[in-house]
């Protein structure tokens, strides 16, 4: 495998019970790039993140992160690998009983023996990077959705990981917060030398900041390419998705029996 790729996924299949979610996914995330995984709700995007993070194990295929095959690791090795990963959950998943400061300091206190004075400085630096140094003593319940997401971002980069995964970072944000989070993801990736994988269905915001896009639909990669290629893509699914069309390869109607028969029209004379 090429050492330029931080994450390499080959022929990955996964099913919940006998409901297949992913059917032969191939995906690579080169170091230093921002990758987007797009697709409709329930298309298995988040499942893909959980497979990369080792929270789920694939039924077939391989997931490699930094050269290590994630599903082959034992718990200790997996935890060692996860120290090099950060994850931003959909609504932040901040620890509600800890202040903003303690949330960001959490991993430093759990995993390192750094003196408290140093942790204090590091936390304020991380918070300064997301513009929330002034909010360090607030509790998560006092934050707006966008602020919580930024704190979670500061927490995710607390131990300077090589990879950050974002689960729907744009969901439920106002336009200003949306732009702030998008720019932060790009800037953090570039300045800290990270690799970012964003799972999202927000086309407009993510096409502005990502280097490469994968479209997932029905468990397979439907299309892939740079933002420019995606915008010019003739694939019907991509076209429907980008333009938010109601009907197309993804039908408006959930599969149902014949409408007339459901209404009983065929029995009337």
């Amino acid at each position: 495998m090429s050492n330029d790729n931080l994450v390499e996924i080959r022929d990955l299949s996964f099913a919940y019970g006998n409901r297949p979610i992913l059917k032969g996914i191939n995906l690579t995330a080169p170091r230093g790039k921002v990758i987007a995984i797009m697709g409709g709700s329930g298309s298995g995007k988040t499942t893909l993140l959980r497979l990369i993070g080792g929270q789920l194990r694939p039924d077939a295929g391989t997931v490699r992160v930094d050269g290590q095959q994630v599903d082959q690791l034992n718990t200790r090795e997996l935890y060692a690998l996860r120290r090099k990963m950060g994850m931003l959950f959909q609504f932040g998943a901040l620890f509600t009983d800890l202040s903003v400061f303690d949330n960001v300091a959490f991993q430093m206190r759990e995993h390192t023996d750094l003196p408290e004075a140093l942790i204090h400085d590091l936390v304020l630096m991380k918070l300064q990077a997301v513009g929330l140094r002034g909010a360090s003593q607030l509790m998560p319940a006092e934050l707006s959705g966008g602020m919580a997401r930024r704190v979670a971002l500061a927490r995710a980069v607390a131990l300077d990981p090589m990879l950050i995964m974002y689960d729907e970072p744009f969901t439920g944000l106002d336009p200003i917060s949306l732009g702030v989070i998008g720019n932060l993801i790009r800037r953090m990736t570039d300045t800290l030398g990270l690799t970012s994988i964003i799972v999202t269905h927000d086309i407009q915001e993510s096409l502005k900041i990502v280097d490469y896009v994968y479209f997932v639909s029905n468990g397979v990669i439907e299309a892939e390419g740079t933002p420019a290629e995606i915008l010019a893509s003739p694939a019907p699914f991509v076209h429907q998705f980008i333009h938010g069309e109601e009907d197309g390869p993804v039908p408006f109607h959930y599969p149902a029996a014949d409408y007339a028969r459901d209404l009983g029209l065929d029995r009337r004379t």
Binding site: Y79, G86, A93
Partner: protein
């Protein structure tokens, strides 16, 4: 005909198999708690926090209930004992009832309602808001960091609360018996002192409440951890915590009593 029969057996079989499966999960969960308890003792501060939130915050309800239970015991006991002219033994009656039975059992029932439900909702909501997932993605084991300290906190808090319940209850009995109804002060205490045995009565009461503490916290934590991550799921889990642990306490109390006091 066959279809009906098959459905009949399926209707019985499904819940039975499901319950056994859940019991299996619960046992495995309990084993995992014990296995991952190392952190709790290396960083005892984590457990002390939980002793505070499960124990200290339950003190008010324990003290108030203990006082009233003791006062009622004093009233009822006095009436009955006086019929036989042995109102002097009121202290014995109050103390033995509390230390052997009411202290551990009523304190455990209250504890399940006050602290057990709090643990279930807390863990259930942590799961629903992905905080447990976030922990494990940060390479911090939720079993070791969140679940085990709560378990040990409750196990340590339970006997202490039961002891407080009994002590306050005895005082309540004293208030009613001696201060209100006029039983002799000295007799009340000296009879109690003579009749209550440390090993036979007090130690057995402590053992009971330790067992109850284990059962309540294991049930509460399992229900929270196993709850579907929705508002309805967490609320059902909380209800199940109270129902299951109350029934478990009462059933176990009978079993334990049968073993402990068979010779008495």
């Amino acid at each position: 005909m066959m279809g009906g029969l098959a459905r009949f057996f399926a209707a019985i079989g499904h819940p039975v198999i499901d319950s056994i499966e859940r019991l299996g999960f619960a046992s495995r969960f309990f084993g995992l708690i014990l296995l991952r308890s190392g952190t709790s003792f290396l960083r005892f501060g984590l457990v002390i926090r939980e002793i505070f939130s499960a124990g200290v915050l339950s003190m008010l309800i324990i003290i108030v209930s203990g006082l009233f239970v003791g006062m009622v015991l004093g009233l009822q006991g006095y009436r009955t004992l006086q019929t036989y002219g042995s109102a002097d033994s009121l202290g014995v009656l109050v103390a033995l009832s509390l230390v052997r039975e009411l202290g551990p059992v009523v304190a455990a029932l209250l504890f399940a309602g006050r602290a057990g439900t709090a643990m279930t909702t807390e863990v259930g909501l942590m799961k629903a808001t992905e905080q447990l997932s976030a922990l494990s993605m940060m390479a911090v084991d939720p079993m070791a960091r969140i679940i085990a300290p709560r378990f040990w906190g409750a196990v340590i808090a339970m006997p202490l609360l039961a002891a407080i319940f009994s002590a306050v209850g005895v005082f309540g009995g004293y208030l009613v018996g001696v201060v209100l109804l006029g039983v002799d002060d000295g007799t009340f205490w000296s009879q109690m002192q003579a009749a209550v045995d440390f090993r036979e009565d007090i130690l057995n009461g402590v053992i009971k409440s330790l067992v109850f503490g284990c059962v309540i916290s294991a049930i509460a934590l399992f229900e929270g951890y196993d709850a579907p991550p929705t508002a309805e799921g967490v609320s059902r889990a909380t209800t199940r915590t109270v129902v299951t642990s109350s029934l478990a306490i009462l059933a176990l109390d009978f079993v334990l009593t049968a073993f402990m006091f068979k010779g008495v």
